[in-house]
Subunit: 468 residues, 2 copies
C-alpha cells in the first residue's frame, strides 16, 4: 500500500467516523452518479458523503480543511451550469439525506428547513397551513431548497413574489474553516451588521455550506386566473409586457414564447394556434375569487395593442389546462428537435426584450443555428435555446462563438448573463465581462476570508485566479 | 504656522480644488451644523465637503485615503443612532447637493437616483408616472435615499412591500481606496457574482459611499382604505396581528399603540377613545377601489377575537383623518412628557409581541422608567420609548441599565436590536450580543477589504476592534 493510498484510506475512515460508514460512498460506480448535474458535465469525486446534521457538516469541513480536500456541496443535481460537478476531485457533500427539519411557524409566516428538503416538500407542508414559498423552479419536485438558495433560483412567480433573495430571512452555515455562523434574523426587518444572508444566497457553495434556512412564507391566494394573449410580432408582445408591468395589477406569471418556438410547437404537436402568431404570452393573476375578473380586465386592457390578435381568458379548469397545453408542448418539441440543445437564462430590461429577440434572430442567421426563445417575460428573463448538438465538435465551436455573441448582446442591452441558473462552470469565462475588475477582486478576497484554503467548490463561478 | 496646520491647509486646498472652494466648509460655526444627527450626539468635523458627482466622491476619497483622513458620509442627518456623527474628526461628506440624477424608466419600473435625492422628491417624481418607492420612513420629507439605503430604513409600508433591501436593484459606489464599483443589475433577476448590492445596503457608510442607486418601483395602488381596531389587552391585539398576517390580504400598514401610549394620548389631547382600550391597531389596505370593501372584510374577520372592542372602517377622507388623529397625537404627547425620551426600534417575531410588551412592563417597574410602545406590528418592529431625561446623570445610568435589559429580552425572544435605525454609535456596545463571534470577525475582515485604512465612517457599527 502506497503512502498516498494509506492517507486516502485514513481520510475515508475519519469521514466514516463522522457520519457512519453507511453514509459514505467510495465505489467508483456509486460515486459516478453524484458527479454530474443537468449541464451534462461530469467528474468523479473521491467519495460522496451524506451528512444529516449541522454538526456533521462542520466536522466534515474541518476534516477536509485540515487535509486540503475539496468539498462540493450538492442538492439533487438539477442545476444546469456544472456548479456541483467536482472538477477538482475531493468529496461531494450531498444534502439529500439532510432533510430532518421542516417546521412551519404559522403565526410568523416562517418556515425553518434543512438544506436537503425539496422545494415540493416545503410547498406541500406550507400548503397545509395556507402558505407557499414563492420560488418555484421548473425542477421543484426534485430540487432542494439549499440548491435554490445557492443559485437564487426563482421561476415564474418571481415576477410578483421575488426570488429566494427576497424570501429568506436567515441562514445557519459553515465556512471553509469549519466555523459556524448564523446570518440574518427570524424577523422580516433587521439591520444589525452586514447582510450575510444575501451574501451567501447565490454564492454557489463557494463561501459556506448552508445547514439551515429560515424562510419567509406568503399566504396562498384564494384563486388563480389564467389568460393567453397572441400577438402578430414579438415587438407587440414585448410592448404589452412593459404595459402590463407598469399598471398596479402585477401578474403572478407572465411567460412568453417567441415566433420560432410557436412554429416548433405547431410542427411537433397538435395545438390550435393562429397561423400569424408571432409571439404568445401566458398570464396568470391571483387573489380573492371575486377579484379575478377585475384583475383579468386590467391585464387585458394593458395587454391590448395593435399587434394583439387573440386574448383568451380560461373560465374553467379544462380551459386553463388547454391554454397551458401549448406552453407545455414546447419542451417535448424542443427535445425532439435537439435533445442536446443549449439553454441559457439571460435577462434584459423588459423594454429591451424586442431588441434582444431581433438581435438573437441576427445571431441565429450569422452562426447558422436555430434559436428559440421563451421565458419569464415579466422579469426580462429569457431562456435562449440554441438547437444544436454540441457533442459534435464543429457544432460546439459554432455554438460557443454564438453564445459569446449572445452574452455581449445581453450586456449591451443592460442585462445580465444569468437570471436564475448561476455561473458554475458554464459561464465562468464570461463573468469578467459583466463584473468590473474591482468587484471581481473584492469577491475573490471575500472568498479568501470565508474559505482561505479554497476547499469549498473550488474552480467555480469566477475566472481562474491567474486570469484576473 | 506649524507643520501640522500647514499640512491641514494643504489638504483643504486640495479638497477645494476637487469640488470648488464654495463646496467646502471650514468655519467651526458652519461645520458644527453638519456634526450632529437626530441622536442628539455631536462632534466637530474638520471640514464639510459637498460633492455633486461620482468622480468628485472618488477624488475626495482618494485624497482622504492618501492622507488618512476619516470620511463620514451624511445625507440629511435624520438618523437616530449617531451613525453620521464624525467622532474621529476628519471630513463630513454631505450628499445634500449630490442630487442631479432622478430618472424614472417607466417601461422597466426603475428609478435611477443620486444619493442626495430626498425620499419625498423620489416619491413625487415616481408618482407622476404612477409609481412609488416602498420605503417611507417618518422623515421621508427630509431624509435622502442614500441614507435610506445606508440604514435599510423602511417605515410602515414594509409589511406589504419590503425594506430598501427588497427594493433596490443595483448601486454605484466608491470603496475606502477610492475605487469604483457597480453592483447588482438593472433587472429584477440576476445571479452573477456575490450580492454586493445587499452587502452595501445597511452597511452604514463603513464599506463604500453610494454614488448612484438603481431602484425598483412599484405601481401605485388605486385607493387605500383605513381601519382602526381597539382591543382590551395588548395580548388580544397581538393575536390579531398574527391572524391578520396569516391570511392572504396583507395590509399596507399595520401599526399598533400599546395601552400606556393610549393613556398618554388621552391625557394630553382631545381624542375619543374607550376607557378600557388596552391596545390599538391602525390598519390600511390598498388596491383597486372596488376591491377595498372585500379586503377590509377579510381584515376585520382576521382581526376579530374576544378582546376586540371596536372596529372602525373610515368611509370618507374625513373619517380617515379622524382615525389617524389618535396616532398622530402620540408624538406631541410624548414630546410634552419627555422631550429627551429614548426611542429604540427593536424587532421580535410577531407572535412574541405579547411577551415583549409584558416583559417591557416588568422592566419599566424594575427600573422605574415609564415605557411606551408603538410601531410597525406587522413586522414585529416595536418602537420602545423610555420616557426619561438622559441628560440628568442618574436618569442616564438607569436608562442604560434598562436598555441593556430591553435588548436582552428582545434577543431572548428571537428578535433583533434594530429593525430600521441601524447601529451607529447607540447600539455598538450591544452588537456582539446579537452577532456571533465568527460573523463579527468576518465582517471586520470584509471592512478591511473594502476600506483597508479604516477611513470610511471609522469607529461605528461594530464593537471597537480591541473589544472583539
Amino acid at each position: 500500500v502506497s503512502n498516498k493510498s494509506a492517507q486516502a484510506s485514513e481520510f475515508l475512515s475519519k469521514l466514516s467516523s463522522i457520519v457512519g460508514a453507511d453514509q459514505v460512498l467510495t465505489e467508483v460506480s456509486e460515486c459516478w452518479s453524484y458527479g454530474y448535474d443537468n449541464s451534462r458535465r461530469h467528474a468523479l469525486p473521491e467519495a460522496v458523503v451524506f451528512p444529516s446534521s449541522h454538526q456533521q457538516v462542520r466536522d466534515i469541513v474541518l476534516l477536509c480543511n485540515e487535509e486540503s480536500v475539496p468539498v462540493t456541496a450538492r442538492g439533487r443535481g438539477t442545476g444546469t451550469t456544472g456548479a456541483t460537478v467536482p472538477v477538482q476531485g475531493g468529496i461531494v457533500l450531498s444534502t439529500e439525506r439532510f432533510d430532518q427539519t421542516l417546521e412551519i411557524d404559522r403565526d410568523n409566516r416562517v418556515a425553518v428547513v434543512s438544506p436537503g428538503i425539496t422545494n415540493k416538500a416545503l410547498q406541500d407542508k406550507a400548503g397545509e397551513y395556507g402558505f407557499f414559498w414563492p420560488p418555484d423552479p421548473t425542477s421543484s419536485a426534485y430540487c432542494t431548497v439549499g440548491g435554490n438558495l445557492a443559485y437564487n433560483s426563482a421561476g415564474p412567480r418571481a415576477v410578483k413574489y421575488g426570488t429566494p433573495r427576497e424570501n429568506v430571512l436567515g441562514l445557519q452555515a459553515v465556512t471553509g474553516l469549519g466555523e459556524e455562523l448564523r446570518t440574518g434574523t427570524y424577523t422580516t426587518k433587521g439591520v444589525v451588521g452586514y447582510d450575510f444572508t444575501r451574501l451567501l444566497v447565490g454564492s454557489e457553495g463557494t463561501l459556506a455550506i448552508i445547514t439551515e434556512a429560515t424562510l419567509k412564507l406568503t399566504p396562498k391566494p384564494e384563486a388563480v386566473q389564467t389568460m393567453r394573449a397572441i400577438y402578430n410580432s414579438m415587438e407587440s408582445a414585448a410592448h404589452a409586457v412593459s404595459a402590463i408591468m407598469a399598471q398596479p395589477v402585477t401578474p403572478c406569471a407572465l411567460e412568453f414564447i417567441d415566433g420560432a418556438a410557436i412554429q416548433m410547437i405547431r410542427d411537433y404537436s397538435e395545438v390550435d394556434l393562429p397561423a400569424n402568431a408571432g409571439a404568445l404570452l401566458m398570464l396568470e393573476v391571483d387573489g380573492k375569487q371575486d377579484e379575478l375578473a377585475s384583475y383579468a380586465g386590467a391585464i387585458k386592457t394593458a395587454a391590448t395593442n395593435d399587434g394583439l390578435t387573440e386574448f383568451t381568458v380560461a373560465e374553467t379548469e379544462a380551459a386553463k389546462a388547454a391554454l397551458w397545453k401549448t406552453r407545455k408542448a414546447l419542451s417535448p418539441a424542443l427535445r425532439k428537435v435537439a435533445p442536446k440543445k443549449i439553454n441559457e437564462d439571460v435577462v434584459v430590461p423588459v423594454s429591451n426584450i424586442p431588441k434582444l429577440i431581433m438581435g438573437l434572430e441576427q445571431l441565429a442567421k450569422q452562426h447558422d443555428i436555430t434559436i428559440v426563445n421563451f421565458g419569464h417575460a415579466g422579469n426580462g428573463n429569457i431562456h435562449v435555446n440554441l438547437l444544436t448538438d454540441p457533442s459534435e465538435e464543429s457544432n460546439r465551436v459554432r455554438a460557443e462563438q454564438c453564445l459569446a455573441d449572445v452574452f455581449s448582446l445581453v450586456l449591451d442591452l443592460k442585462g445580465t448573463i444569468s437570471g436564475e441558473h448561476g455561473v458554475g462552470l458554464e459561464k465562468q469565462a464570461f463573468v469578467a465581462r459583466e463584473l468590473d475588475p474591482v468587484s471581481l477582486r473584492l469577491m475573490n478576497e471575500i472568498k479568501g476570508i470565508f474559505d482561505p484554503n479554497n476547499i469549498l467548490n473550488p474552480g467555480k463561478m469566477f475566472p481562474a485566479r491567474d486570469a484576473l
